[in-house]
């Protein structure tokens, strides 16, 4: 059984369930130059000069300061500014990083998502100066035809140029790549993968395109599953990506993430998969807090109703719109969707999320889950090993990567009562 570096000292895995603040901070920037055809994320096309951009960034900064005053960020190690297109904030982005830097003393990884189109040299200078350490670039493809089919605003040349510029600024650069997209062939995918590798980035994320209902792409495609997005094609592309990237010295450390070295893994994303609490601010942003963290946030947020009995984990989602946040940035004014998990559900969720990592299920987590959920944990794990989803080290196999939903579903079912309590803040 593997014993990952993430295992918790002293209190064991249960320690994570009683941490008081957040280990990670996520800020959501819901603006884009234009909306991509496949996107169903919280993001809206916004003109570059719109004053809402600056007001929204400043509002987020105020919320960060407020959270910091509560002590929520005392042990916050990573920041991730995602979107949307954070780089669209221009100089306001650096400003926001500086605020977070001053509020979170233990911060050591600061990631910003950026679009090649809006990543200017000036912006790069400013980001580095503001403490940014990582840039996650939405490259998606290095084939112009595929990019325009996706509705992306940049072309391959611009993407290459901006990736190199970011590397030259000394940043850790990650590239998001998308497979099973219109026009893509095994050859074009190969050239995208090799092209990205040759630029010298240290981190790559690979996602098969998910056709979402209600998006322009979903409407265009209709009920028919297009050949370019069939599960077989997705499997082929994911397998191909693994072969190319591993052949070039990368290691797949998470179902969708590859890194050249342990140091270049994204610590922020790993917090999501390892039961560490995180705070998410901005329209649509998700938080995961312990009971204690939630009670602390309640001190300033009376709209968060009383904590229901026997709940040990809370997942929040900000429902306030961009305008509402810009106009009234106070934490007590935010609207949330609140989801509560029992300790059993939280443990099952941690197993489910842990199965996404190459390091496999943490021994401390398994021991803790067994104490809590009983023999069924061993029975399920044994079955998943027997059926070939997990290795003997309880790490996902090739089958476990490709048929993850089956694996995750089985582990989540260990909660034995999967219905969670959901409500909206009043």
């Amino acid at each position: 059984m593997s014993s990952s570096a993430m295992s918790c000292e002293g209190t064991g895995w249960r320690g994570r369930l009683i941490a008081e603040g957040a280990n990670a901070l996520y800020l959501h920037v819901p603006f884009c130059v234009q909306k991509c055809a496949y996107c169903d994320f919280a993001s809206w096309a916004t003109p570059r000069g719109d004053t809402l951009l600056a007001r929204y960034a400043q509002a987020l900064g105020k919320q960060v300061e407020e959270a910091s005053r509560l002590g929520m960020l005392d042990h916050c190690e990573t920041l991730y500014v995602g979107g949307g297109t954070p780089s669209l904030l221009g100089e306001n982005l650096g400003g926001l990083l500086r605020v977070v830097g001053s509020c979170a003393p233990e911060l050591s990884e600061l990631t910003c998502e950026a679009n090649p189109e809006s990543l200017s040299g000036t912006l790069l200078d400013d980001l580095v100066e503001a403490g940014c350490t990582r840039l996650s670039m939405g490259v998606q493809s290095l084939c112009d035809g595929e990019l325009s089919e996706l509705g992306r605003v940049h072309d391959a040349a611009r993407a290459r140029d901006r990736v190199v510029a970011a590397l030259a600024h000394g940043l850790n650069v990650s590239c998001d790549l998308m497979c099973a997209i219109p026009l893509q062939t095994a050859e074009s995918w190969q050239s995208t993968l090799e092209g990205i590798v040759s630029l010298g980035v240290d981190h790559v994320s690979v996602y098969p395109l998910q056709i979402e209902e209600g998006t322009p792409l979903g409407l265009k495609v209709g009920d028919e599953e297009p050949a370019w997005n069939s599960p077989d094609v997705q499997a082929d592309r994911m397998t191909q990506a693994q072969a190319v990237l591993e052949g070039n010295g990368f290691r797949r450390y998470e179902v969708a993430s590859y890194a050249r070295s342990p140091q270049s893994e994204c610590r922020h994303n790993k917090a999501y998969w390892t039961g560490k609490p995180y705070l998410g601010l901005g329209t649509g942003a998700a938080s995961m807090l312990t009971r204690e963290g939630y009670l602390r946030l309640m001190e300033v947020c009376p709209q968060l109703g009383p904590l229901p009995e026997c709940m040990s984990r809370v997942r929040l989602k900000v429902l306030s719109s961009r305008q509402e946040i810009a106009e009234d940035p106070q934490l007590p004014s935010l609207k949330f969707e609140e989801e509560f998990l029992t300790e059993r559900q939280a443990a099952a969720e941690d197993l489910m999320l842990g199965a996404r990592l190459a390091s496999g299920l943490d021994a401390g987590l398994v021991a803790y889950a067994r104490d809590l959920l009983g023999q069924s944990v061993d029975e399920t794990l044994a079955r998943l090993v027997r059926e070939g989803y997990l290795s003997d080290a309880l790490a996902p196999t090739e089958k476990g990567w490709l048929l993850g939903n089956e694996l995750y579903g089985e582990l989540w079912d260990l909660a034995d009562g999967c219905e969670t309590l959901v409500r909206r803040s009043s």
Binding site: A286, N405, G409
Partner: protein
Amino acid sequence: MISFGAGETCSACAMMSRMKTTDTSHIRNFSIVAHIDHGKSTISDRILELTHTVDERDMADQLLDTMDIERERGITIKSNAVRVVYDADDGESYQFNLIDTPGHVDFTYEVSRSLAACEGAVLVVDATQGVEAQTVSNATLAMNANLDIVPAINKIDLPSAHPEEVKKEIEEDLAIPADDAVLVSGKTGEGIHDLLEAIVYLVSPPKGDAKAPLKALILDSYFDEYRGVVATVRVFDGSIKKGDHLRMMALGDTFLCDGVGCKRPLETPLDELGVGEVGYVVTGLKDPALVKTGDTITYEDRPCAEACPGYHEAKPMVFTGLFPIDNKQYENLRDALEKLKVNDPSLIWTPETSVALGFGFRVGFLGLLHMEVVKERLEREFGLDLIATSPSVDYHVYKTDGEMVDITSPQDLPDVTRIDHIEEPYLKAKVIVPPDFMGAVMQLVVDHRGETSDMVYLSEKSVEIHFDIPLAELILDFFDQLKSRTKGYASLDYEIGDYRTSDLVKLDILLAGEEVDALSFIVPRDRAYDMARSLCDKLKEIIPRQQFEVPIQGAIGNKIIARSTVKAVRKDVLAKCYGGDISRKRKLLEKQKEGKKRMKSIGSVEVPQEAFLAVLKVDDE
């Protein structure tokens, strides 16, 4: 055939007549009969509107059809009796009891039941379509019941209406005088007033003796959790009021009448149901089985001399296995079937056990539509998740030891070595179709093992083709194909024929090497290969890809005669991170799991419900 009712003076004022029992001379009980889609329900609605029974703004289209399924499919399944008060041109108020009848070929049983309660029938014929198969069969039923017939030609607002020709068809095909046929439009309401006047004058008032012992026929009944069984009745003699001690003549049970009333169309309590009237009786009986449609209600201490003539019991023609996906719902399914039987007496069932599907019932239906409707009602109204297996007919299997057994489920078929021969039920069917499609229909009949026996020109524009056909062919896809090959022009009618010997074999389906009894069905030997091949192909499309490869095989006995393969699924994972929005990921997993719950695990293979009816779809391409 047509008699005239006398309009006598009514002493009570109009308002009173709405509350009290009415003199029989001012009552008209009638049904509306028609071919499907000729507009019966729309005309019913206009009548309710014109007599101010319902406000125009409360008017949902087709108000008489109360079940969801009826609304959605635009068909009338359950009969319904509604009372309206019509202030006629002669200054008198008349009580009309409109007894709605179903219009689909599956439901002729209910049509005859409804007609027994009436003195008259409005025969609706579409002005653009003319007389069709069910116009003929329903008119025949009405004439056999000695009803006064009021012909009405509907949809005269349509540009393609040709009422004069339709009148000719009514006279020539049905031998019903049509000179005075009322021209109406259910859509615009035109002519509805004339129709109501025609009903007053053409339909006889009910006869009956108000002083005689009670004699009331049960037309229909439904179960109410609080009041027990409520029966819809037609009073032929005597009267009923709350507190009467009553008896069911056939079944013998006694009960205290807990109230009477009529539907307008909502339940309206009355003091009394008088002679000639139609209304409901609250029996208080808690066991639906004690109230049988067709039974006669009378006084406990002063019974009538003889019961109303009984109905011929409807004979189920199509049998299918109904299994709850979750076997724990077996008891619920039985309770639900019992509740449905209260107002659907044609429903019959016996317990059935399947290796693949567990415990369920073999249920007999009047036809395929009846089967679909019952299955949908069980799922919607009782919250059951059901699998229906391929429909079968009642085979007579003669064994080598001379014994004959009825087989309604393929899995009960004895071993080949013990079968001497098998007989299957045939139908005497007729199709009315424009001459252009004659060849297409004859080909279809031949393809389905039928034999054409006669062809008659009804007019220049329609030919009636008579043929004998195995019922088993008709319940598969004959009707759909008939519709598509004749561009919807054909209408089909049939009656039960004789049993004939056929060379039949049992076709088995194996999934991942295991025989699935619920997928077996009985086919003619010479078509077994084709059927097996197309069924294997169809199942390959229906069964979703699993974590492993699933071979599908068709076999007769030990011999594999067809094969296809469902390839293994290779990728099923949500890789995207969604900014730490784990709730969203979990919701997607839950949704997938819900989808699986709707499937049945057979061995290790997840099989969706529709796979068990795949045989109905094999000729779709």
